[in-house]
């Protein structure tokens, strides 16, 4: 090792070596001169003769130095040179191996790049492991929002946080341009940037005056908006933006990495904690984020906030006694949901790489066998077994390196694939190449070399040399080579495993598509309209706004009906509430718990949800009303008895007691993959952020998008209309993660079976070549061609049947992991398994038939003459 380092230094730093060498050679000349002078020459003559004898000085320095470097690299270089020569002689083989490995390593590195970006890398903030999300928790409602007054208390009274802050978002329209532009606007509590540990890339943070009620209106803008609107000019600072009635001064630009907690935020401004409305301990709106002090664990912080909240409960028993504080590391909260999916995909792609390696190992075994002669010659010329094996492994390593190089190209393109297939994947914009991906690919290449090169190298050099030389070129009768067939069997088994997983996911996806949601999602256009929380102060006016918009939309030619709602039907989301009955309810009866939704009166007509009993909510009414679904009515009121009951929410100050007007059909509100549950629908909406508007259209919904936008611009010029898309697109986006893993797994599985069939084909073809003489003899002795075909076919079938059997066993383990991701199909779905086996057998037959037929075409005379 030390010697190697020395040589490396010589190669890299010829300076030092050159000086040493010069000194050495100069000494030689000096000695020679002295010698000549001792013999009686004059000083001048001696110098001249010595120089002449010495020859070209520089050339000698160089030659000697080359020797130093070359000697060390020699063995390695010789291996590389020999390997390159050997590979160039069989370009077909080399290409096959490189492409197979490129696919295996590329797919693996691509998935690893996603895992690296999403799961492994810390969030892009200083000491980001100390950033946590903070939530207010209460028994009855699952809302995590925190009252501003309580947020300030928590921040003031705790001992474990550097700072606690919070934010909420709304979609605003910026009005200083020609058209209103929708911007996502985050309103943040003080200390927001302190929690993230970042500073604006240009400009400054909010000043203390700006964090108080009545202070100047200041706004930080996102990097993206800065580039789009101001062309990334530093002059953006000091510009004014108009949002609704208010003007804001731009004071700074956030760094591009600020894509948290919500990635699409364009603006940040302060929501002052001393705003009079914010004093109430009942009104909650902040989503909390906090930065822990160094060395504090989330558990300690949790205990600390619990103590703080206990003190607050004594001070304000009314709302605070029921409230607790929840803490979760922010990274976990951001990416926790996709961890399982990503690892499943990674596991699958690793199986694929394993198949690729097995495939190549089988190829190499065949190749080693056909190179026995060459290897034997090298042995007889005195090569050691180690050096021949080293050269064989070097060949594989060169191929693996080339494969990894091409694979890296694939991985670089993968970021775009992920952004298309799974745009909602958290942190998807961070996926890209970095040194870790490159290192990972290299490790893959080394691992692949060891996995598929070592065994053939050892096996290929084991033969006794005399035997090989003697039989050189002569194909032995029936060299059975079980190792190759075992490798092919392994490939089939792994391919079956992947196919089973992909098949189950596909069947789940299919089942999801067949689900009747209880509503009709076709021909429904959805869009959003900007609004701010400030408007919600005037209930009457904002209620009128919604009504006016809905009427205008319904009046657009081609629109059948219009509606508005918070959560789109069929898109996963849950909002459970506990209800009380004004008419009274026996203690013995179960608590009334239901999924709650809020929608305009036209929601049911627009979604084609049938009215089963009672009446629809009237368009306008002075008494709050609600609809309930059949499950709800049956579960708690024995059916029609529900109509006319007054239901209230004791735990929430937002919702008034409302009378049940009618019963509607059940629909899958919580997502198409969930069974319907008891649900209530409050009738009537006010204009506020987060609303979805729906329009049922006669024809293609997207054809009406522009008419609807123009119509709304006429009546609401200060608002922007955005996210215009058909409802079906929302439904399919809701399963984007599901789709991602299904698409990827299917792709891997198909690649796997393709590789396995190539492996089977290659191995059988090789067998046919080796046994040509035997086949020729048998044909000459009267064997039927059909027998020959049957024999080779049976050999292929035996291998793939064994592979299938083993694969089913592996699939059992694999599908157990998948069980949680399946829908409407059991992990042992007979149709899937039968289909997989049928597919594998069909492919195997095709792959075996070609070589078998070639065997039967052997001309006996020709083979025998060649011998």
């Amino acid at each position: 090792m030390r010697r190697w380092l020395g040589r490396l230094r010589n190669a890299v730093r010829p300076g030092r070596l050159g000086r040493d060498l010069e000194r050495e050679l100069r000494f030689h000349v000096a000695e020679r001169i002295e010698e000549l002078r001792d013999a009686g020459m004059s000083a001048e003559d001696a110098a001249r003769v010595a120089r002449r004898q010495f020859g070209n000085y520089t050339a000698q320095v160089e030659r000697t130095r080359d020797m130093d470097i070359a000697e060390g690299l020699d063995a390695t270089l010789r291996n590389v040179r020999l390997s390159l020569r050997a590979l160039a002689k069989s370009p077909g083989f080399s290409m096959t191996v490189v492409l197979t490995l490129a696919l295996g390593i590329g797919a693996n590195s691509a998935v690893f790049s996603a895992i690296n970006a999403v799961l492994l890398r810390p969030l892009p903030f200083p000491n980001s492991d100390r950033i946590v999300s903070v939530a207010q928790m209460q028994a009855k409602t699952p809302q995590p929002h925190i009252a501003p007054a309580r947020l300030e208390d928590w921040n003031r009274m705790n001992h474990t946080f550097q700072a606690i802050s919070g934010y909420y978002t709304q979609d605003d329209s910026e009005l200083s341009g020609d058209l209103p532009e929708k911007l996502t606007h985050a309103l943040v509590a003080p200390r927001f940037l302190e929690v993230w540990g970042i500073a604006p890339q240009i400009g400054r943070d909010f000043s203390p005056e700006e964090e108080h009620y009545g202070g100047p209106n200041a706004v930080l803008i996102s990097d993206r908006y800065w580039r789009r609107r101001f062309g990334a000019s530093p002059d953006a600072i000091g510009n004014t933006l108009r949002l609704g009635q208010t003007s804001y001064t731009v004071i700074g630009v956030m760094p591009a990495s600020m894509a948290f907690v919500q990635r699409n935020v364009d603006l940040w401004s302060v929501s002052a904690p001393d705003f009079p409305y914010a004093r109430s301990r009942d009104l909650t709106w902040f989503l909390g984020v906090g930065r822990l002090k160094a060395g504090v664990t989330p558990a300690q912080a949790r205990a600390d906030l619990a103590t703080v909240q206990a003190a607050l409960a004594r001070q304000y028993p009314k709302p605070d006694a029921e409230i607790r504080a929840g803490i979760e590391p922010l990274k976990e909260r951001t990416v926790g949901g996709v961890r399982e999916s990503l690892w499943v995909v990674f596991g699958s792609v690793t199986l694929l790489l394993l198949i690729a390696c097995t495939n190549i190992a089988a190829l190499l075994l065949s190749r080693a066998a056909s190179r026995q002669h060459e290897i034997a010659v090298r042995f007889s010329l005195g090569a050691s077994r180690a050096s021949v094996a080293a050269q064989l492994v070097t060949e594989v390593f060169l191929l693996a390196l080339a494969g990894a190089g091409v694979g890296l190209g694939l991985a670089a393109a993968a970021a775009r694939v992920f952004q298309v297939l799974a745009k909602d994947l958290p942190r998807v914009e961070e996926i890209g190449l970095d040194w870790r991906i490159v290192a990972y690919s290299l490790i893959c290449a080394v691992a692949a070399t060891l996995a598929c090169g070592l065994v053939p190298a050892i096996a290929g050099t084991r033969r006794s040399l005399a035997g090989s030389l003697a039989s050189a070129g002569r194909s032995q009768v029936s060299g059975r080579r079980p190792a190759q067939f075992v490798l092919v069997g392994v490939q089939v088994a792994l391919a079956v495993t992947l196919l089973a997983g992909a098949g189950l996911l596909l069947r789940s996806f299919q089942a999801l598509g067949r689900v009747a949601g209880g509503f009709d999602a076709d021909h429904v256009l959805t869009f959003r309209i900007s609004a701010s929380w400030g408007e919600t102060g005037d209930l009457k006016r904002s209620g009128q706004t919604v009504k006016r918009i809905l009427e205008a939309v319904a009046a657009v030619p081609g629109v059948e009906s219009s509606a508005a709602t918070f959560l789109l039907p069929g898109v996963p989301g849950t909002f459970p509430v506990e209800l009380s009955v004004a008419e009274g309810r026996a203690e013995s009866e179960p608590k009334i718990v239901a999924e709650s939704r809020i929608g305009s009166a036209g929601l049911f007509a627009t979604m084609r949800i049938p009215l089963l009993a009672g009446e629809m909510c009237p368009q306008e009414s002075n008494t709050p009303g609600m609809m309930v679904n059949r499950l709800f009515a049956n579960a708690y009121f024995g059916g029609a008895g529900a109509i006319g009951k007054h239901l209230g929410q004791p735990s929430s100050p937002y919702f008034p007691t409302a009378v049940v007007r009618g019963i509607v059909g059940d629909e899958r509100e919580r997502g198409l993959d969930h069974e319907p549950v008891p649900a209530i629908y409050y009738c009537g909406l006010i204009m506020q952020p987060g609303l979805y508007f729906l329009a049922r259209t006669h024809g293609n919904p997207m054809a009406l998008g522009e008419s609807v936008r123009r119509k709304l611009h006429e009546i609401e010029p200060g608002r922007s209309v955005y996210e215009i898309s058909p409802l079906t697109a929302h439904l399919s986006d809701a399963f984007a993660e599901n789709r991602l893993r299904t698409v990827l797994l299917t792709f891997f599985a198909l690649t796997a079976i393709a590789l396995a069939s190539v492996g089977l084909y290659g191995t059988l073809s090789y067998q046919v070549n080796v046994r040509q003489r035997e086949v020729g003899l048998r044909l000459a002795l009267g064997a039927l061609r059909a027998q020959i075909v049957r024999q080779f076919l049976a050999q292929g079938m035996r291998v793939s049947l064994a592979g299938c059997a083993a694969g089913l066993g592996l699939a059992g383990a694999f599908t157990k992991v998948l069980a949680g991701m399946l829908f409407g199909v059991s992990p042992w779905d007979a149709i899937t398994m039968t289909g997989v086996i049928a597919l594998v057998m069909a492919v195997s037959i095709a792959a075996s038939l070609l070589p078998a037929a070639r065997a039967a075409r052997v001309e006996p005379m020709q083979v025998l003459r060649e011998e």
Binding site: L25, A59, T64, D68
Partner: protein
């Protein structure tokens, strides 16, 4: 270029290594001393050219058969001294016996009569 005696013989390829190893068997020496020693003991029949000597020395060093260090020469100048390593000693023995066998074979072929005599 060379102006020395006409009786000079060319070194056989591969023999320089053996000659160097043999010379160093007597003890550490610098390049010039090695060249001089070979020339003198061969009665001036063999003259080692520096163009071959130094590359050979460095090659042997890289193979680990000889080791080098800067020391003071007998005249008090700093010179690079080479000495045999254990591996070098072994190598010398191997080369020597190979050479002996080769020389004997050559002799048998070229002078068959000589060999019959004793």
């Amino acid at each position: 270029m060379r102006n020395d005696a006409p009786s000079r013989v060319e070194l056989l390829q591969g023999t320089l290594d053996l000659l160097i190893l043999r010379t160093l068997l007597a003890g550490p020496a610098h390049g010039h001393a090695i060249a001089k020693h070979i020339q003198r003991t061969s009665e001036d029949l063999l003259q080692v050219e520096t163009g071959s000597l130094y590359p050979a020395l460095h090659r042997l060093e890289a193979k680990g058969w000889i080791a080098a260090s800067w020391e003071l020469s007998s005249k008090g100048k700093r010179a690079r001294f080479y000495r045999l390593t254990t591996a070098g000693r072994r190598q010398h023995a191997a080369e020597q016996s190979k050479w002996d066998a080769f020389a004997r074979a050559m002799a048998l072929i070229l002078n068959p009569a000589d060999q019959e005599a004793p």
